[in-house]
Every structure is written in C-alpha cells, then in structure tokens.
Symmetry: C2
Subunit: 133 residues, 2 copies
DNA sequence: TCTGCAAATGCAACAATGTTGCAAAAGAAT
DNA sequence: ATTCTTTTGCAACATTGTTGCATTTGCAGA
C-alpha cells in the first residue's frame, strides 16, 4: 500500500504534506510525533497544516492517536489488527519509543452499577529492547 | 483521616492551600481537576501554587494523577487499594466525571522480545450512571 | 491543456496548560 | 519574639493545539 493509494482510497486530496506524512508512517515500525514527522519532512510545513492533516487522517481512520500522559502525542497507521478496538500501546520511558502491540486482549472489568463502557485504552510503560538495563 | 492528619503524617507544612485541596479530595468520590478545585476554593490561590501543591502531594503519594488524552488531568486520593496493583480509571465522555475503579485486575500482556514492563495504565471510556442514554 | 471552484495551506492571533526565577510572606521550631 | 526554611504570588516563558482569513493548490470538467 502506497501513500498515494491510501489517499485516493479515502477520497482525500493528494497534497505533498499528507503524502509525505503517510510515507513516513508506512516506513516506520513505531508511532511518530508531530516533531518527528516535521524533522524528517525537512521541507517543513506549517504547524497548523500538520494539525489539520492529522485531523483529516484521523477522521478517515488511516491513522490513530496515542496520547501518553502530559508527555507526548504520537500517531500510527491503523492496521486491520489495530482497528479492532482495545489494543495495547507500549511506551518506553527512556527513549519515548511508542508502539502498537499487536496482541488480542479480552479484558472485562466490572464497572459500578449504571456505568457503560464504550472503549478501553491500555498503555504499558517500561523500557524497550534498546533501553533495557 | 483529616487533611491536617494527612499533612502531618507526611511531614508537610500545613498551608491553607494544601489543606483546602485535601479536604475537597477527602469529600469527593471522584477525581478532581485543577479547575474544579479552584472553583470550590473560592479564596483562590495562584495557578502556580496549585501546580506546586499537586507536585508535593504527588511526591508524597497522597494523591495520584489521571490523565485523559489531551482532554484533561485529574487527581484523586491514593487509597490502599489504588496504591497496590495496577488499577483502572473510568472517564465519562459526556460529563468528564473521572473515577478510580476499585477492582483487582491481573492482566498479562506478551511484549516483544527485549521489552520490559514497569507499569500499566488502563482507562475505560463510556458514560456514567448520570449520563447513560 | 485550460478554467473554475472547493479544499488545503500559511500566517497571525489566540487559548490552555504547565514551568521557572525571584522577592515577599507564612509556617514551624527555638 | 526571633530565626530559618518553605511556600507563595507574580511575571515571564514554553509547548501544544485551535481559529479566522486571505492566498494557493489540487483536481474535475470543459
Ligand atoms: Mn495502536
Ligand atoms: Mn486511581
Ligand atoms: Zn527505549
Ligand atoms: Zn457522565
């Protein structure tokens, strides 16, 4: 799947910002932040354009967002696996590497009477294979 | 347990800001945000003082922090239950009510080779008993 | 290939949240 | 009451994200 195909498939205009972002997502095994994308797209775009592109790609379901506390926000491609709701994310507290964990989880938690669950976010923090002590 | 006792027990100075915050935490069944605390402590304190008080109470382990995406940050008292295991938080997407779920969870997720887990955050989103449709 | 229109962009301004340095005030111990 | 330390308030700043508006671009149709 190419960036161009992804955009066409979702009937989105093929702009260089979107296409550049998608190429980086397609090439990366890890989630990427706005800053990481901008660094690599040296022909920088305005910050506003990035934010609006994120919104477009999120709305289309092409990418999804991973927020780690007040520390950072990253984005990753949505795959068939990650599209299934509750999947797990991993965050390395040393190098901030953030990954989608491709595992099926079946967790049921008893909520108080009258509460209703729509979704569940699971974030594991620890050290990645490069940062293990 | 009173606010005064909590502060003395942790050898913290008994200032009116800290004591006011703790009284609200002790009286609340839900997690509270900076704004909710400030509203109720009408004899408002400076924003900086709030942030520094949060840090003090967090460091002492008296409260813990619950971050919901880029939406909001709330705080709640640390109880014996919440201190122990990985515990779960609930966030109502309608009224933003945020609660600690007092349930024991034992979840093991297989991480990629070389990855090491330190902690796990679980956030359930949905509607609370007042907002159920 | 050219034209026209809707959509995307860049820029400036703004808001919310959180942090830091420093002088003044308050807490607690003597 | 005096002293010393910690906390506070204020101003300034950083980061992240949003909005309005004029300009530019992509793309469909001629
Ligand atoms: Mn993911
Ligand atoms: Mn909790
Ligand atoms: Zn790492
Ligand atoms: Zn609610």
């Amino acid at each position: 799947m190419t960036a161009k195909q992804l955009l066409q498939q979702h009937k989105l205009k093929r702009t260089s910002c979107r296409e550049g972002m998608l190429e980086l997502f397609l090439a990366s095994k890890e989630a990427l932040s706005e800053n990481e994308l901008r660094e690599q797209l040296s022909g920088s775009y305005d910050r506003t354009t990035f934010y609006r592109s994120f919104i477009t790609l999120l709305d289309a379901g092409i990418i999804h967002k991973i927020v780690v506390d007040n520390i950072l926000t990253k984005y990753a491609l949505t795959t068939p696996m990650t599209r299934e709701h509750q999947h797990v994310h991993f965050f390395c507290t040393h190098c901030e590497t953030t990954k989608c964990i491709q595992t099926d989880v079946e967790i049921t938690i008893q909520l108080p009477e009258g509460f209703h669950q729509d979704s569940m976010d699971i974030l594991i923090k620890g050290s990645c294979n490069h940062c293990k002590q």
